[in-house]
């Protein structure tokens, strides 16, 4: 159904970007006039920028809700809304249209992005208060939301790619937001470069799909072509793997996950919005959206499942030894994304999307909570220097507790249902089910442990800082309100799918991923006994390991701290993330550097030489030609006559 006003959804954040950019320009101007380059954004523009930014996303959320209701009112098999702005480029067989389309899958994504996005914008008003780039920050954040919506809502793979690059750009800008700090600028660059590797794969995959399929980049066409078997198997596998490489980059899977922990250099709300709730899940969204295609491409889904499971376990082991509260959450994000890919890989598309949604709620909550803690501790991020914050920042504590329970998978919290759905589907899947389940369950145990550790080190025990020097204070209302809303969502999110009782999300998504699920998993065989058993095992793991982590670290934080300081043996490996960065430096960076030096030499002597020669020659020729331009009208008339004679003679000769 054609619904033109869908354009408002991405347009509103873009409008916010524009307005905030103008405000930023105004602030810069003021600063220049006052010759005070470091002054914070003045109160009025700051307040205005904050509310414009938040308002734009909130309005976009309202429109998204309206679109959702309109979609819901349609009969199940007609649930697609489209808005075609205009044909964009029509050249030969390439027909690209600016089309937004909303189906049940991206409607869900859209609601998460705008809803969680609006909350995080609101939170940022408090968190970024007094920053000198306040307006710029909101401009970037709005731009991000707009780009993310382009990514989600585009019907064409090219439009999706545009958004994909756009969110990458925003991520880069926001990680390096405090770019005066060299380390943070480096982190931004690392994120950008690692993502380029993935994007390279994405591009190749896209071209393969275009050439190999029906010559269309529309995702519904690709899915249809795949179901009809229009792709050859080898090409489909290759294209699928290339696309998955793109997803690995964006969604931080092995081997391209290395940028995400470093991305924590950005402001904490950015980590919450971009590097936990939305952008990093776009890889999962892409695979789910092209579900029919991936279901057809032989051998791709098992690869995805294995990579996902490996990442889930691997990142969890690292998370257990991190001292920086944001790093713990970052590795936890990598790990949880691994679960989602595991779900996709075994054909549990609904489970993956379910976990995506609940994860967006509770991980955003945890990040914002961590931000609140960091805010309260005056930018201290080392958990060994915290402790005893439970009574000092009660709202943050309580909401984070809920988030932690959801992350650990404590029964009745949202994370419990979504994670156990994935694990159950893994155990009943086709790809070595029990091995993958074991890896997943091991990851879950580690998750519960580091969650408990995080809570224990941050909130319990004695304060390991000087309360006189560090005045701990609860965050302002703009920051706590989003925490509370997200806490409610982290509990209520489970209602989207409670085993045996209700599964509204599965019904909702069925028109989009039902076919693909059927293709991968075959007919549904209810296995109630197994499901109940796995639920019980999952609950036991979550509660057991969470309480282990809580008690272990609560009892002896000092001992743990000295062990962490010395960092010997396994702990050293864990704390340094298995030295993967060093390994990459050795295996990838060093050869590249040597190659770079070599090619630089070639470049200087041959390429530059040639280019410079061309430049010099053209300048010289330019100077010669410029001499025609003597300035004398007589000379101009002379050239005129010369040209006239040539043309007349030419035309007369042509007719003879």
């Amino acid at each position: 159904m054609e619904t033109p006003w869908l354009w408002l959804i991405p347009l509103l954040p873009f409008l916010g970007t524009l307005l905030n950019a103008l405000l930023h320009a105004g602030v810069l101007r003021r600063r220049q006039q006052e010759r005070d380059l470091m002054a914070p954004a003045v109160a009025v523009p700051e307040r205005l920028a904050g509310w414009i930014g938040t308002g734009a996303v909130a309005l976009s959320f309202l429109v998204a809700v309206a679109a959702f209701l309109r979609l819901k009112a349609l009969p199940v098999d007609e649930r697609v809304l489209t808005a075609t702005l205009a044909p964009w480029i029509q050249a030969g067989s390439l027909d690209l249209s600016w089309t937004l389309s909303i189906d049940p899958l991206n409607a869900a994504m859209m609601l998460v992005v705008t809803g969680v996005g609006a909350l995080i914008h609101l939170y940022s008003i408090g968190y970024m208060h007094g920053d000198k780039g306040f307006c710029k920050y909101f401009s970037y954040l709005n731009l991000f939301v707009g780009m993310m919506l382009m990514l989600i809502l585009s019907e064409s793979l090219l439009g999706l790619f545009l958004g994909w690059e756009g969110v990458g750009l925003c991520s880069y800008l926001l990680i390096g937001f405090w770019y005066e700090d060299g380390e943070k600028a480096d982190a931004a660059r690392k994120a950008f470069i690692v993502n380029r590797i993935g994007d390279f794969g994405f591009l190749i995959g896209m071209f393969l799909l275009y050439w190999g399929g029906g010559g269309s980049l529309n995702m519904s066409d690709i899915n249809a072509a795949a179901s009809q078997g229009a792709f050859s198997e080898g090409l489909a596998t290759l294209a699928g793997l290339c696309l998955f490489l793109g997803c690995c980059g964006k969604s931080a899977q092995i081997p391209l996950y290395v940028w995400l922990p470093d991305a924590m250099a950005g402001p904490t709300p950015v980590s919450a919005l971009i590097h936990a709730a939305t952008m990093v899940t776009s890889g999962i969204y892409l695979v789910a959206r092209l579900g029919d295609f991936f279901a057809f491409a032989p051998g791709v889904l098992p690869v995805i499942a294995c990579v996902g499971a490996a990442t889930a376990l691997f990142a969890a082991t690292i998370g257990i030894a991190q001292r920086d509260i944001k790093k713990v959450l970052a590795y936890s994000t990598v790990s949880q994304l691994g679960y989602m890919f595991l779900g996709l890989g075994v054909g549990a598309f609904t489970g993956a999307v379910f976990h995506l949604i609940t994860h967006a709620f509770f991980k955003a909550l945890l990040f914002l909570g961590a931000g609140s803690v960091i805010h309260a501790m005056h930018h201290q991020q080392d958990m060994f220097k915290m402790g005893g914050l439970r009574d000092r920042i009660p709202i943050t504590y309580k909401t984070m507790l809920i988030g932690a329970f959801a992350l650990a998978g404590v029964p009745l919290f949202s994370g419990f249902f979504s994670k156990d759905l994935i694990l159950f589907e893994t155990a009943t899947g086709h790809t070595s089910p029990w091995l993958l389940w074991l890896v997943g369950a091991g990851g879950a145990a580690l998750t519960a442990t580091y969650t408990g550790r995080l809570l224990a080190l941050t909130f319990y025990g004695e304060a390991r800082f000087d309360p006189q020097k560090t005045k701990v204070h609860e965050s302002p209302r703009t920051m706590t309100l989003p925490l509370m809303v997200l806490a409610v969502l982290s509990i209520a999110g489970g209602l989207l799918g409670i085993p045996f009782i209700m599964h509204p999300l599965a019904d909702w998504l069925d028109p989009v991923v039902g076919q693909a699920t059927l293709e991968v998993r075959g007919e549904h065989h209810p296995a109630h006994g197994l499901e109940i058993a796995l639920l019980l095992v999952g609950s036991a793991i979550a509660i057991g390991f969470l309480s282990f982590g809580l008690r272990h670290y609560r009892r002896s934080p000092e001992e743990q701290r000295s062990r962490a300081d010395q960092a010997t043996g396994l702990l050293r490996w864990l704390a340094n993330a298995w030295f993967v960065d060093a390994l990459y430096a050795l295996l990838v960076t060093t050869p590249l550097k040597i190659l770079a030096i070599l090619s630089a030499t070639v470049d200087v002597f041959f390429v530059d030489g040639t280019v410079n020669w061309v430049a010099r020659r053209s300048r010289a020729t330019g100077n010669d030609v410029r001499r025609m331009q003597s300035g004398g009208a007589n000379d101009y008339a002379l050239w005129f006559s010369l040209g006239a004679v040539v043309i007349v003679v030419g035309l007369l000769a042509g007719t003879r």
Binding site: L638, S641, V645
Partner: protein, 169 residues
């Protein structure tokens, strides 16, 4: 008799035109142009277009030359200051000659000159009729062009600097 006059006027027109080109002072050159226009008017008369001849004198001698004199004034050429000429400018003249020669070749090569258009001298009423019906638009537009030319000439004719327009300040 008419034929002899025709060639005589033709020679006169050519001679005057040559003088326009070769005179080094601007004002005599302009006067020679006037002469040239008179000879051309004579040619029209002999060919049986008396109205065109009259128009030629009124419009060209009366109006166009005014514009030329404006240009000369704008250039501020003193009578005693001869126009400088350089060798490469004569290349331009040579090229123009080549063009004219080509025009002759083209005209003699084409048989169309005789065939297509040999109208009898039109009645003035017919001319007027054409002007007000078929050529109404160009006829009216001409007035716009003329007004534009007048405004332009007035603007350029004013002495630079100072303000002779007291109302605007």
């Amino acid at each position: 008799m008419a034929t002899a006059l025709f060639y005589l006027f033709g020679a006169g027109a050519l001679f005057s035109a040559a003088n326009v080109v070769f005179r080094r002072q601007a004002v005599p050159a302009a006067i020679w142009l006037v002469t040239c226009f008179f000879f051309l008017a004579g040619e029209f008369l002999l060919l049986g277009f008396p109205f065109l001849a009259a128009i030629q004198i009124m419009v060209y001698v009366g109006a166009i030359m005014v514009l030329f004199l404006f240009v000369i004034m704008l250039l501020d050429l003193q009578a005693h200051q001869p126009i400088q000429s350089q060798f490469r400018h004569s290349i331009g003249g040579a090229l123009a000659l080549v063009l004219v020669a080509l025009a002759f070749v083209a005209a003699s090569g084409g048989q169309a000159l005789e065939a297509e258009n040999q109208p009898a001298a039109p009645e003035i009423s017919a001319l007027v009729e054409a002007l007000f019906t078929r050529y109404l638009l160009p006829f009216e537009v001409t007035s716009v062009v003329l007004v534009a030319a007048i405004v332009g000439a007035l603007t350029l004719g004013r002495s630079p600097g100072g303000s002779d327009h007291p109302a605007k300040s």
